[in-house]
C-alpha cells in the first residue's frame, strides 16, 4: 500500500467558491460511501461473532464441520477468521474508494482551471 501518492492533490487557496462547494459535495458522497461500506461490514461482524458465535450457537451445533460442532467452531475459530477477513476487505475497499475520489476531485479542479483559461 503506497504512501504520499496524493501529495499533488493539495487544495489551492485561491479556488473559486463554486468549485469549493462542488468539492464539498463530492467529499460528502465519499463519506456516505464510506459509511455504507462500514455498515455492511459491521453487519457481517455482528452476524459472525454475536450471531453465529452466541445467539444461534445452539441451533448451529446440530450441524458439524469435521469433528467440530458448527456453533462451537464459530465461537472458537470461525468468528476470528471472519474478523481478520473483514478488516482486510475494509482496508482494500477504502483504498480504492480514496483513489476514486482523488481522481474525481482532481478532474474537477482541472476542468475548473480550463474554464478559467
Amino acid at each position: 500500500m503506497s504512501d504520499e501518492k496524493f501529495s499533488e492533490a493539495e487544495p489551492g487557496l485561491s479556488e473559486p467558491p463554486y468549485l469549493i462547494s462542488v468539492i464539498q459535495n463530492t467529499l460528502k458522497d465519499y463519506w456516505r460511501s464510506n459509511v455504507k461500506i462500514m455498515m455492511v461490514l459491521l453487519g457481517f461482524w455482528a452476524i459472525a461473532g454475536l450471531g453465529c458465535g452466541v445467539i444461534f450457537v445452539d441451533a448451529l451445533n446440530v450441524f458439524s464441520l469435521g469433528g467440530y460442532p458448527l456453533g462451537f467452531w464459530f465461537a472458537q475459530q470461525g468468528s476470528i477468521i471472519v474478523f481478520v477477513i473483514l478488516i482486510l476487505i475494509y482496508a482494500l475497499l477504502l483504498n480504492r474508494l480514496e483513489t476514486k475520489y482523488h481522481t474525481k476531485i482532481k478532474a474537477l479542479r482541472k476542468s475548473a482551471r480550463k474554464d478559467k483559461a
Partner: protein, 620 residues
Amino acid sequence: MTVRFWTFVFIGLSFALYLLIAWISRVRDTKGFYVAGRGVPAAANGMATAADWMSAASFISMAGLISFMGYAGGMYLMGWTGGYVLLALLLAPYLRKFGHFTVPDFIGDRYASNIARLVAVVSALFVSFTYVAGQMRGVGVVFSRFLEVDINMGVAMGMCIVFVYATLGGMKGITWTQVAQYWVLITAFLIPAIAISIRLTGQALPQIGLGSELLEGGYLLDKLDRIHADLGFSSYTEAFDGPWDKANVFLVTLALMAGTAGLPHVIVRFYTVKNVRAARSSAFWALFFISLLYLTAPATAAFARYYMIDSLQARSAEQLPAWFRNWEKTGLILWLDDGDRRLRYSAGEDNEIFSYKAGKVVINGESMSLAQILGSHQEWIASNGSSGRDWRPVLQEANLSGPDRDIIVLAIPEMAELFPWIIALVAAGGLAAALSTASGLLLVISSAVAHDLYARVINPAASEKQRLLVGRSVIGVSVVIAGLFGIFPPGFVSQVVAFAFGLAAASFFPAIVLGIFSKRVGTVPAVMGMITGLTFTSFYIVASVYGGMAPWTLGLFRQGISPQGIGTVGMVLNFIVTLGMTPFCREPSDEVKKLVDLVREPEGEMSLLEIEKESPALRG
C-alpha cells in the same frame, strides 16, 4: 543440559536483544518519544500491536481458561479479537487522521474542553495502572516458576529492563522491542501446540487437529464431551450447559469487544504509522498476528484438557507421568487420595485433584503450607483416618478443586515430551508477553501525565526539551510504581484487570465514536455520558464484587448480569445519555465542525502536516 540452564540462556539472550534494540532506536524529540516519529511500517506496527495486546494473561492464562470453560471460553476469544473490527472500522483511521499523540488529546480537542480532557486522562490512568500491575506480577511469576528465584527479585529485574528501553527509546524503542517480543512469544506458543497436536491427532495444524480424529480413534471433541459427562463436568462443546447463560455470554462478549476498541494503549499504536492507509492496513496486520495465537489457544486448551485427564485418571502413584511430578512441587496441581490409591478427577465430592495457593488455606487463623497439607493428608491415609486430616473438603471449601488453570500452557511442553530448551522458550515467551504489554501501558501513563496534563494544561509554553525530560521522568516513576504494585499486589488487582474492559467500553468507546460520526454532539452531553457510563459501571462492579450486592436481573434475564458484562449496559447508558441530551445542548463550534470534516475527508485532500500545524501543542 537442564531446563534451568536453557531458561537462563533464553532469558539472557532475549533481554540482551531488547536492550540492543533500545540503544539503536533511542530518540531525541517528543514526536519520536510519543508516536515513534510516525515512521513505523504497517506490518511492523501490526506485530507491535499484537505483542502490546497479548499480555501475560493471554499467553499463560487464556488457553487454561478455555480449557476449563469449554464453549463459554469463546467469549474471550471473540471479544478480544472482535474488538479489532470496531477499532479498524470506527476508530483507528480517523484518530490517525486527526494526528496528535493520545486519546485524551482527541477527546479534549473534539469536545473543546479541558474537563473532558481530564475525565479522559483519569480514565486512561486508571485503566492503565490496574492493567500494568498485573503485568509486573506476571513477570515475577514467570521468574519464580522457571528460575526458582524470588518473585520480588523477578519483578525488580523486569522493572530494570523496561526502565532502560522505555526511557531511552520511548514509543520508538518500545515499538521495535515489541516486534522482537512478538516473535519470541508466538514461537514459544506455537511449537508446543503443534507438537501436542501431532502427538494426539497426527495433524500438524492445531486448528485442523482440534476438529480431527484422535490417533486412537474417535473425534477429539466427541471424546472430550463424553469424558466431561462421565466425570460430571458441564459439556465442553455444548453452549450454555454450565454456569454461563446466553444473555451473559452475549453481554460479556460485547463488553470485551467495545472495551478492546476503547483501550488507550491499543488506540495509541495507530498514531505511530505514517498515514491513514497505513493505519487501516496495520489494523489488519495486528489482528492477523493476534489471530495466530488466538486460533491456536482453543486447540491447545482442548488437547491439554484431554491429555491431562487421560494421563491421570485412575492411575496409581507409580503410573503418574513425569510432568505431574514436576508441577506437583509448585502447588499448581496436587493429588489428595481417598485411600484407594487410584487417582480420581471429577466435578463431584469424590474429586482428588486440587491446587494450592499460599494464604488461601487457613486453619485456626494459621495459613497452611503445601508441605503441611500433604504431610497431614498422608498421615490420614496411612493411619486409616485415626490421625492426620482429610484435606479434600477443606480445599474444596477454599475453592481450590481441580488444577490451577495456568498449568495448561506451562506444562504443555512436558506433556508433549519436548526438549528441555522448548520449556525454556515458553518462559522467555511468557516474559516477552508481560514486558511488551507493560511497556505499552507505561507509555500511555507517561503521555497522559506528561503530554495531556503537563504540556497541554499546566505548562503549554514548555519547550521541546522540557517536555521530553518530563516524559522520560514520568515513565521512570511509573515503572517504579508499577513494580511496587507487582511486589505488593493490592488484592483487587487481578480482578480489576478484567473490569478495565467494562470501564473502557462504558467511557471512551461511545465518546470517540460519537465524536467522529456525529457533528452535533457537543461538550456537555459527551462529558455527562462518559461520567454516567463510568459511575454506573464502577458502581455495579464494586457493589457486586466487594459489596455483596446480588446481581441484577432487570426482570429480563434468568441469571443476574455478570460484573464482567456490565460494561455493555454502561455503554448503552452512555449512548442514551449523550444522544438524549444532545438536542437540548449547544452545538459544537464551527472550528470543531471543521475538525470533524477534516478527519472524515479522504487522505491527501488536506495533508496531515496541515492538521498538525493547526494544533497548538505541536507548534513548539
